[in-house]
């Protein structure tokens, strides 16, 4: 009843192809953006939201959403399974670092864009195999990307500015004289970048480029017959996806961790992001955000649950067991989602909306 679309007519094609055609959705997204951009900072200034909320939850959630978006474009929309996401993030991070380091007066946003472009270039090169290989052979080939790039960044000292430990310290984020160095200013910065890029991604997937990806994913022989060019389409998917992952990697270094090393962008991180899109929903922009939220909140929730167990029931659990439990829960959830709802949380959300249309009536 709340969610009825009755009475909302679309009189032009422009209206029909809006991102949020239903008025309730429009109100919903406006509220979310208001809370995100205005509400959260207000609460933080009023002392009600600690820095921890930003540094441990909101900022990483946004950054991982962006990386998940990137992977979703490649794997979800274009159907090219990739296990090398973290490697592209690494390229973005280290490229941005080097641009800031070696070019005086480089604006930070430009450095991020250039870092993303470097990641895109690497993505195109390592995406070439997708023209011949498919399915999990391609996934195995992307492992080559993952291992090789991390090795490269470790061994070639120039990338890390010959740091002996291999760790680089990201420079400060400064725009027009203002330095983003508090937890919530970094959060606002990341929020802005991610919002803009999510909008661009949504636009891409609902126009011709998005359709070309989905066509290649669903039936590439038929796509060819219609006039889509597999090579250009696949490489474009790799390029755009790697750009997104590259920017996410740069944000990871500059606005979240502060210091990074190549090893920090390892296979485990690639798997994590893959899990985000499996749980959140492959082929869905919303799904990338839902999956990222889930994976970011899960360890925190698990920790709280373990403490609760220890406190209330008095079980004394050995240290380090929470990380093992985390692995088990991740694994079990992946299997659960694939069996129960292979299209992830995004589909559950859609089903929820369908039910909302009828609520409180049963059918």
């Amino acid at each position: 009843m709340l969610y009825r679309e009755a009475g909302q007519f679309k009189a032009t094609y422009a209206e029909d192809s809006q991102i949020f055609p239903i008025r309730q959705d429009k109100i919903g997204i406006a509220l979310i953006l208001a809370v995100a951009f205005v509400g959260a900072p207000l609460l933080s200034v009023a002392g009600m939201l600690s820095d921890y909320t930003f540094t441990a939850i909101l900022t990483p959630f946004l950054i991982f959403s962006l990386a998940a978006l990137g992977l979703n474009i490649l794997t979800g929309y274009a159907g090219q399974l990739s296990l090398g996401t973290a490697a592209f993030m690494a390229v973005g991070a280290f490229a941005s670092y080097n641009f800031m380091l070696r070019i005086d007066g480089m604006p930070i946003l430009m450095a991020f864009i250039l870092g993303g472009l470097c990641a895109a270039a690497v993505g195109i090169v390592f995406g070439l195999p997708s023209l011949r290989i498919r399915g999990f052979y391609l996934a195995a080939a992307t492992l080559a990307t993952q291992f090789f790039i991390v090795w490269c960044l470790t061994k070639v000292g120039w990338f890390t500015n010959y740091s002996s430990s291999g760790v680089i310290t990201a420079q400060k984020i400064e725009i027009l004289g203002y330095t983003f160095d508090t937890a919530f200013s970094k959060y606002l910065f990341v929020l802005s970048v991610v919002t803009v890029m999510a909008l661009l991604a949504k636009n891409m997937v609902r126009t011709n480029i998005g359709r070309s990806w989905m066509a290649i994913r669903d039936m590439d022989m038929a796509a060819e017959v219609i006039g889509f060019r597999p090579m250009q389409t696949k490489l474009m998917a790799f390029a755009v996806s790697s750009f997104y992952c590259g920017v996410a990697g740069a944000l990871f270094a500059y606005a979240y961790l502060g210091t990074v090393e190549p090893e920090g962008f390892n296979l485990d991180l690639s798997f994590r992001i893959l899990f985000m899109i499996i749980i959140g929903g492959v082929g869905s922009i919303l799904g990338s955000f839902l999956g990222a939220a889930f994976i970011v909140l899960l360890p925190i929730g698990l920790n709280m649950f373990m403490h609760f167990l220890e406190g209330s029931v008095g079980i004394n659990l050995p240290s380090g067991i929470s990380s093992s439990f985390e692995l088990m829960v991740f694994g079990a959830l992946i299997i659960f989602f694939l069996i129960v709802e292979p299209h992830g949380l995004a589909r559950l959300w859609q089903i929820g909306k369908e039910k909302l249309r009828l609520w409180p009536f049963p059918h």
Binding site: A141, K155, M328, F330, I335, I339
Partner: protein
């Protein structure tokens, strides 16, 4: 020349051991068409369980059968809980489910036995074989020789099992066409149970050998991951292919590390097999022994 032979043989030997790990993947894929990414985690689990049981005071000869039981149970549970519900899905979905399974098994192993590195003593020492050292001036590890001997025997036994025994034939029938196999009365569930048990056994042997060589730690899963390039080279459905692939990967990895490594800073072993497999795939997308995939429109 001698040094080259030393490196080559050392590589070939570790290649046989890679082939052993790869075999586990081949078995499952042949029987159920599923690429079980979690085979590596199973190797880790088997090694860790054995080491853990031994560390708790059991003798090796008691720990082994107990671990075997655990592996078989793990295999059967996987088949029932993970694979059966997903049997009609796209193979990529199944693949991703086995990635989830990997995480689960790794977590389970560490939850039960802790994350510390354990050593596994099998009674064979990792020292150069005296005889070879003296007569040919080559240092080749005794352990490596015996381990690859064991692996070779096991692989041969499995090859014979598949081609000569009734159960082996049934397994091949199931791999070819589930429906057809059912229609001639082959009990599918039993067959899958047997396959998972054998795969578990293979994982156990592989885990023991690799665990004794390198210590039982999480890095073992990366060794198992190296089975992927082996499978790419040798094809996912071929036992001889796994052997040939293993030998190629083992030898090339060592040779690359020794001869190219020093010029580029070392550590090539981490990515060389994958890049080799990638280059190979570009030329032959279905592997050396794999079946040509023909797509009809």
């Amino acid at each position: 020349m001698q040094f080259f032979l030393e490196v080559l043989i050392g590589g070939l030997l570790s290649g046989v051991m890679y082939a052993l790990v790869a075999l586990g993947y081949v078995l499952i894929y042949k029987a159920s068409g599923v690429f079980n990414f979690a085979q590596g985690a199973m190797v880790f689990f088997a090694a860790l369980t054995t080491a853990g049981l031994v560390d708790s005071g059991l003798s090796l000869w008691l720990a082994l059968p107990l671990t075997m039981v655990a592996m078989v149970m793990l295999g059967l549970l996987t088949e029932k809980i993970v694979l059966r519900p997903l049997v009609a899905q796209h193979e990529i979905t199944l693949f991703m489910a086995t990635i989830g399974l990997t995480f689960f098994v790794e977590g389970l192993a560490q939850a039960i036995w802790g994350a510390n590195v354990r050593s596994l003593e099998l009674g064979i020492e990792d020292v150069p074989l005296e005889w070879l050292l003296e007569n040919a001036n080559m240092a080749i590890s005794q352990f490596d020789l015996i381990a690859s001997g064991i692996a070779a025997v096991l692989v041969t036994l499995l090859a014979i099992f598949f081609s000569k025994t009734k159960i082996g034939r049934a397994l091949r029938a199931v791999a070819d066409d589930h429906q057809a196999a059912l229609s001639i009365g082959i009990p599918l569930q039993h067959i899958w149970g047997i396959v998972w048990a054998v795969a578990g056994f293979v994982a156990l042997v592989a885990g023991l050998l690799w665990g004794a060589r390198n210590g039982v730690q999480f890095a073992l899963t990366f060794v198992a991951l190296k089975a992927l390039p082996v499978l790419i080279l040798g094809g996912f459905t071929s036992v001889p292919g796994a052997i040939v692939g293993g030998l190629i990967i083992g030898a090339s990895e060592k040779l690359a590390e020794v001869y190219i490594g020093p010029h580029v800073g070392g550590g090539i072993e981490g990515w060389f097999p994958y890049v080799l497999a990638l280059l190979f795939l570009l030329v032959r997308p279905e592997g050396l022994f794999g079946e040509r995939i023909i797509r009809r429109i």
